[in-house]
C-alpha cells in the first residue's frame, strides 16, 4: 500500500513516521510537501506532529489553509484513510474533518510522558489489529491536547462509537491522574462518522521499537495495513 506523510512548515515528527513505516514496516511511503497538490496513488495520508506555522495563533489553525489540504479533504470525502497525530489531529479538527477541538492542557503546561490507552472500538481501519479493551503504552507530548466537544457532539460521538482511544491507568481504569491534559471524557483519539479519518494526541511512531520502551504504536499502523489488504480483496471497512 502507499502512504503519504505531509510536511508542513514546522512539522517535527514527519521523519519519525516515515522511518517507522519505511524501515520498521517496509511500506511504500513518501513525504508530501504542503505547497503541492495531493497526488496519488495513496491509500493513507498521515498528518504528523509538530508545530505547524509555530502554532502561534491556535494549534493547527493556519496549516488547514495549506494548499495540500484541499486535496486531503477531498481524499477523505471519497473514503481515503487519513491519520492525524498530535498536531495532525489538531489540523484535522480545524479543517472540520473531525469533530471537536483541542485546547490548552488543563495544567497550562506542555506535557511529555508515557500514557496508557484503552482501545475502545476495533471496527475501524486504524484499530482493527487491536483487541477491544486492549491497553497500549504510548508517549504524549503536547501543550494543546485537551479534547473538548459540546454536549450534543459528545453524545453523537458516543452513539456512533467514534471514541477510539481513552487515557486510562495501568489497570485499564479511567482516572484524573491517568488523563495527562484534562481531556473531556478522557478522550485520546476520535474518528469521523464514516470511520476513515482518525486523530489521536499520543504518538504511535515514537512507540514502534522495543529499544525505545514500547512497540505498541505499531498496532495503529498494522491496522491500517490490514484494512487496506482487505480492501484490495474487496471488503472495505469489513
Amino acid at each position: 500500500m502507499h502512504w503519504g506523510v505531509i510536511v508542513f512548515p514546522g512539522s517535527c515528527d514527519e521523519q519519525d513516521v516515515y522511518d517507522c513505516l519505511k524501515q520498521g514496516l517496509k511500506q511504500q511511503v513518501e513525504l508530501l510537501w504542503h505547497k503541492d497538490k495531493l497526488k496519488g496513488p495513496l491509500d493513507c495520508v498521515v498528518l504528523p506532529g509538530g508545530f505547524s506555522y509555530g502554532d502561534y495563533l491556535r494549534a493547527g489553525c493556519v496549516a488547514r489553509f495549506s494548499p495540500i489540504m484541499e486535496g486531503v479533504v477531498e481524499f477523505a470525502r471519497s473514503g481515503g484513510l487519513v491519520l492525524g497525530i498530535c498536531n495532525g489531529f489538531q489540523i484535522l479538527c480545524e479543517a472540520g474533518l473531525l469533530p471537536g477541538v483541542l485546547t490548552r492542557n488543563a495544567s497550562l503546561q506542555f506535557v511529555c510522558r508515557q500514557v496508557t490507552l484503552r482501545v475502545e472500538e476495533n471496527d475501524t481501519p486504524f484499530t482493527r489489529a487491536a483487541k477491544k479493551g486492549q491497553l497500549l503504552k504510548l508517549p504524549v507530548k503536547h501543550g494543546e491536547g485537551r479534547y473538548y466537544a459540546d454536549p450534543e457532539t459528545l453524545e453523537a460521538l458516543r452513539q456512533n462509537r467514534q471514541i477510539l482511544l481513552r487515557y486510562v491507568d495501568s489497570k485499564g481504569k479511567v482516572s484524573p491522574l491517568a488523563n495527562p491534559n484534562g481531556s473531556l471524557d478522557d478522550i485520546a483519539g476520535v474518528c469521523n462518522p464514516t470511520r476513515n479519518v482518525f486523530g489521536l494526541m499520543p504518538h504511535p511512531e515514537d512507540a514502534a521499537d522495543r529499544l525505545l520502551g514500547s512497540e505498541d504504536g505499531l498496532k495503529i499502523f498494522t491496522s491500517v495495513i490490514a484494512a487496506c489488504d482487505r480492501r484490495e480483496k474487496g471488503a472495505w471497512l469489513d
Partner: protein, 744 residues
C-alpha cells in the same frame, strides 16, 4: 521602508563619557587608536566594545583555557569553531557545544532561556549538523526565595517552548538550588548534532569575491549590546536592561534549520556562521579572521524590521534567528531558491574581499573600516591578578566532632529525599519533549541520557554535571569532581567518554579571588580530563555573575558525551528483579564536607569536598563499562548528592515500573551519618544476577577496584541494617512528589 527614512546626519562624537559608557577602559581605547592609527568613529567604537567585551574576546580567561587538553584521535574540530566535532566512526561525527544565557534569563526568564536554546542550536546546525539532543544545566536561588518559582517556571517553559517547537528532544539536564544564586541564576544550554564527516562546514569566509548572504529573520533594535551586558556585573538597576533581552521565534528557527540543512547537501556553500552575540559584527569579523580574508558589508541591503535604524544599531543588533553564509560565486540564485521554498529571504549583503579589512558601507558611504585582526586576534588579553582569599581557610574548617549525629536517621533520609536538589526533577523534564526524532533510549531521570544512532548499532550517552558548592570549598578539587562525575554518569549507562563541552560560570574577573577560583577550577578540570582521557572540544566562559558585589559560587558545568558500541547493551540505574545481588564498586570514607546532608540537616556549607584519586576513579568507571558491555549488570547508579542511602533509594524507586525494595548491610566502621549520606567519590551501586557475582569480582580484582556485596533486591521495604527500615512506596512518594508539591 528603511530607505525612505532620512539618513542620520552624522555620528555622535566620541567623548571620554561615551568610551566609558561602552565599557572600554582608557588603556583599551589607547590600544584601539594605536591599531587604527587614528581615532575611531562612534560606529567603530561600538564595534570594538562588543568584540572586545569579555563575552566575545575571552580576554580574562584565554590564558587559562589553553591548559585544557583539546586533542584526541577522534577530535575533528576543537575549541575555536562554532562547536566541537568528534568522529564516531563510519563517516559520522557528533557536533556539540554548551553555552550560558545567565544574565538574560534573570531579567526575562522565558525569553532569556528560549533564546539561549535558539543560539546553541544555531551554533550546531551552522556546521551542517542535524541537532538531535538538547541538555540544560540550571542553578536557581534558594527554593524559598520569592523570585525562585517565577524564574524556574519561566526558564523551564522557555527552554521547552523553544526546543519542543524546533523538534529537538531535551533528553537530560541538572537543576540545583542554593542561596548563592538568589540574584544571579545560571542557564546553560547544550546541543548535540550529527553530521557526515564529509559535510561539515566551518565559519570561514574564503574565496575572494564570494558573496556574503544574510538569511533568516529581519534585523530590529532588540538585543543591542547584549554581549556587553553579559560582561558586566548586575546591580538593582539591571531590570532596566530588559530591552537588551531578545525575543525568540522558534518557528523561524525551525525553517532556518531545515533550509540550512537542505543547503548543506548541495554544493553551493563555503561557510556558515550564526549571528549570535554581537550579531552581524562578530559573525562577519570571525568568519574573516578564520578565513584569513577581508570582508565588505553593505548595510543598506540588510533586511530591517523597523525604520530609521543607524549603522551602529544594525551592526550591533542581536535579533535572533539570523545566519550569515558565504556562497560560492554564481550560486546565489540557487541558495535563494532553497530559502524561498521555506518562505525565507536570502539576501546578498556583502562579499569576501582581498586584504584584511572589515569594511562597512551604509547608503554609499563608509561607516567603518577596521583591520579584522584588531577585532579578533589583537583583542586585549589579560593576565589578571589571582589570589586566594583569606576567608577561604575559615570555610574549609569543619570539625565533625561539633556536628551532632542525629538520632533520627530515617527522618534525615526523608528530608534529604524531599530536598529540591535531590528529589525527582520530573516536574521539569515532563515539560520538555524527550521523544521527538524517535531515538531516545534512556529518557531524563537516569544518570545519563542515551540516544541511538539510527541505522547503526551505536548509541550516544550524554550527562551534565557541576557542583558549585564543592568548587566554593575547594575550586581545584571541585573542578576535578565536575569532570569525574560527568564521566562516571556516562559509565553508569555503559558509555565511554569521547569529549566534553563546558560553561565556566564565575563572578567578576576583576577580583583577584574570583580569578584565583577560576584558575584553580580550570587546573582541576584539566587534570581530570588528562587522567580520564577526555578532550575539551568546545565551551564558553561566563564572568560577572554577581549582584551588588557578591559573586555566585564558582560553577563550572561539564557536559560530557560518550559512545556505546552496542546501544542495546545499555543499563539504567533502577533495580530490575527480586533476588538480584546489590554490589558497591568503590570505597566509602568518613567525609561529609560540602555534602547536601550537611546543608539540609545542619545548615552548613563547610569543610573540604570529598577526596578523589583519579586512578581509582578511572578504574571504577572502566570496570563498570566493561561489566555492562559483557552484559553482567542489571543496573548501575552513581553515588552522588545525598550519598549511598539516597543512591539506594533512587535505585529502588526511580524507575518507570513499580518500586522494588532491598535488604542492605553495611559494615564500615564510621559515623552512621557519614556512612549513609557522605558523598565519597568513585562509587557506583550496581545490581547483578547471583550467578554473575563471581565474574564481576574477578573483573574488579583485576582492575584493582574495591568491591563488596552489600545486599539483595526484594521486598517492599528498603532496609539498611541496622539504621533504616522504610517502605519503598513511602520513599517513592517523597522523592517523586516533593518538587511538584512545593511548586503547586
Amino acid at each position: 521602508m528603511a530607505r525612505l527614512t532620512p539618513k542620520p546626519l552624522s555620528q555622535p562624537p566620541v567623548t571620554p563619557e561615551v568610551i566609558a559608557g561602552h565599557g572600554l577602559t582608557e588603556e583599551e581605547y589607547r590600544k584601539i587608536v594605536k591599531l587604527l592609527e587614528r581615532e575611531p568613529n562612534y560606529t567603530e567604537l561600538g564595534i570594538f566594545s562588543v568584540m572586545w567585551s569579555e563575552h566575545c574576546s575571552y580576554k580574562s580567561s584565554k590564558k587559562y583555557l589553553k591548559l585544557f587538553p583539546t586533542k584526541g584521535s577522534a577530535v575533528i574540530e576543537g575549541p575555536g569553531e562554532n562547536a566541537g566535532v568528534v568522529d564516531i566512526g563510519a563517516g559520522q561525527a557528533v557536533i556539540f557545544k554548551m553555552e550560558s544565557h545567565n544574565h538574560p534569563s534573570f531579567i526575562e526568564p522565558y525569553q532569556g532561556a528560549a533564546t539561549g536554546v535558539g543560539g546553541i542550536l544555531r551554533d550546531v546546525f551552522t556546521m551542517g549538523a542535524r541537532p538531535i539532543a538538547n541538555l540544560n544545566s540550571l542553578r536557581f536561588g534558594s527554593f524559598d526565595h520569592p523570585r525562585t518559582r517565577y524564574l524556574l517556571g519561566g526558564v523551564v517553559a522557555g527552554i521547552g517552548g523553544y526546543g519542543n517547537c524546533v523538534g529537538v528532544p531535551t533528553v537530560g539536564g541538572e537543576l540545583f538550588f542554593d542561596e548563592s544564586y538568589n540574584a544571579n541564576i545560571l542557564v546553560n544550554a547544550f546541543t548535540l548534532g550529527i553530521a557526515k564527516t564529509k559535510r561539515i562546514f566551518r565559519g570561514r569566509a574564503k574565496g575572494i569575491g564570494n558573496s556574503l548572504m544574510y538569511v533568516g529573520a529581519k534585523t530590529g533594535r532588540d538585543g543591542i549590546h547584549g554581549a556587553t551586558m553579559a560582561s558586566e556585573a548586575f546591580s538593582e538597576k539591571s531590570v532596566e536592561r530588559r530591552p537588551t533581552v531578545q525575543v525568540g521565534d522558534p518557528f523561524m528557527e525551525k525553517l532556518l534549520l531545515e533550509a540550512c540543512l537542505e543547503l548543506v547537501e548541495k554544493d553551493y556553500l563555503v561557510g556558515m556562521q550564526d549571528m549570535g552575540a554581537a550579531g552581524l559584527t562578530s559573525s562577519t569579523a570571525e568568519m574573516a579572521a578564520r578565513g584569513g580574508t577581508g570582508v565588505e558589508l553593505d548595510l543598506s541591503r540588510v533586511p530591517l524590521r523597523e525604520s530609521g535604524m543607524t549603522a551602529y544599531e544594525i551592526l550591533l543588533s542581536e535579533s535572533q534567528e539570523r545566519m550569515l553564509l558565504v556562497a560560492k560565486k554564481g550560486k546565489e540564485e540557487e541558495v535563494k531558491n532553497i530559502f524561498a521554498r521555506w518562505d525565507l529571504d536570502a539576501v546578498v549583503v556583502g562579499k569576501v574581499a582581498k586584504g584584511h579589512m572589515f569594511r562597512v558601507l551604509f547608503d554609499g558611504s563608509e561607516v567603518a573600516c577596521i583591520p579584522v585582526a584588531a577585532l579578533t586576534t589583537e583583542a586585549p588579553v589579560y593576565n589578571r591578578p589571582a589570589e586566594r582569599p583569606q576567608w577561604h581557610d575559615e570555610v574549609q574548617k569543619l570539625n565533625l566532632a561539633t556536628v551532632k549525629e542525629s538520632s533520627d536517621l530515617e527522618g534525615d533520609l526523608k528530608r534529604l529525599l524531599a530536598s529540591p536538589n535531590i528529589a525527582s526533577k520530573e516536574w521539569v523534564y515532563r515539560q520538555y519533549d524527550h521523544f521527538v526524532r524517535s531515538n531516545t533510549v534512556v529518557a531524563p531521570g537516569a544518570d545519563a541520557a542515551v540516544i541511538r544512532i539510527k541505522k547503526t548499532p551505536k548509541g550516544i550517552a550524554l550527562a551534565v554535571d557541576g557542583n558549585g558548592r564543592y568548587c566554593y570549598l575547594d575550586p581545584y578539587v571541585g573542578g576535578i569532581l565536575a569532570v569525574a562525575e560527568a564521566a562516571r554518569n556516562l559509565a553508569c549507562v555503559g558509555a565511554r567518554p569521547i569529549g566534553l563541552s563546558d560553561c565556566l560560570n564565575f563572578g567578576s574577573p576583576e577580583k583577584p579571588e574570583v580569578m584565583w577560583q577560576f584558575s584553580r577550577v580550570v587546573q582541576g578540570m584539566r587534570d581530570a580530563c588528562v587522567a580520564l582521557e577526555v578532550p575539551v572540544v568546545s565551551g564558553n566562559v561566563s564572568f560577572y555573575n554577581e549582584t551588588d558585589g557578591v559573586a555566585i559560587y564558582p560553577t563550572p558545568t561539564v557536559a560530557m558525551v560518550g559512545l556505546l558500541a552496542k546501544v542495546e547493551r545499555h543499563v539504567t540505574p533502577w533495580f530490575k528483579s527480586p533476588g538480584d545481588v546489590v554490589v558497591l564498586l568503590g570505597r566509602s570514607r568518613e567525609e561529609l564536607g560540602g555534602s547536601e546532608y550537611l546543608k539540609v540537616i545542619h545548615g552548613l556549607v563547610k569543610g573540604i569536598p570529598p577526596w578523589i584519586d583519579l586512578k581509582l576513579e578511572r578504574a571504577v568507571q572502566q570496570c563498570c563499562v566493561k561489566a555492562i558491555e559483557r552484559g553482567l549488570l542489571c543496573s548501575a547508579h552513581d553515588v552522588s548528592d545525598g550519598g549511598l542511602a539516597v543512591a539506594l533509594v533512587e535505585s529502588c524507586v526511580g524507575g518507570p515500573e513499580r518500586p522494588l525494595g532491598a535488604m542492605i548491610e553495611l559494615h564500615e566502621m564510621m559515623r552512621a551519618d557519614a556512612l549513609l549520606f557522605g558523598e565519597s567519590q568513585s562509587r557506583i551501586v550496581v545490581s547483578v544476577k547471583q550467578k554473575n557475582v563471581g565474574r564481576l569480582k574477578e573483573m574488579a580484582d583485576h582492575d584493582g577496584v574495591p568491591m563488596q556485596v552489600i545486599g539483595e533486591v526484594g521486598g517492599s521495604r528498603l532496609v539498611i541494617q541496622p539504621l533504616i527500615q522504610l517502605p519503598v512506596e513511602e520513599l517513592k512518594e517523597i522523592w517523586s512528589g516533593s518538587l511538584a508539591k512545593r511548586l503547586q
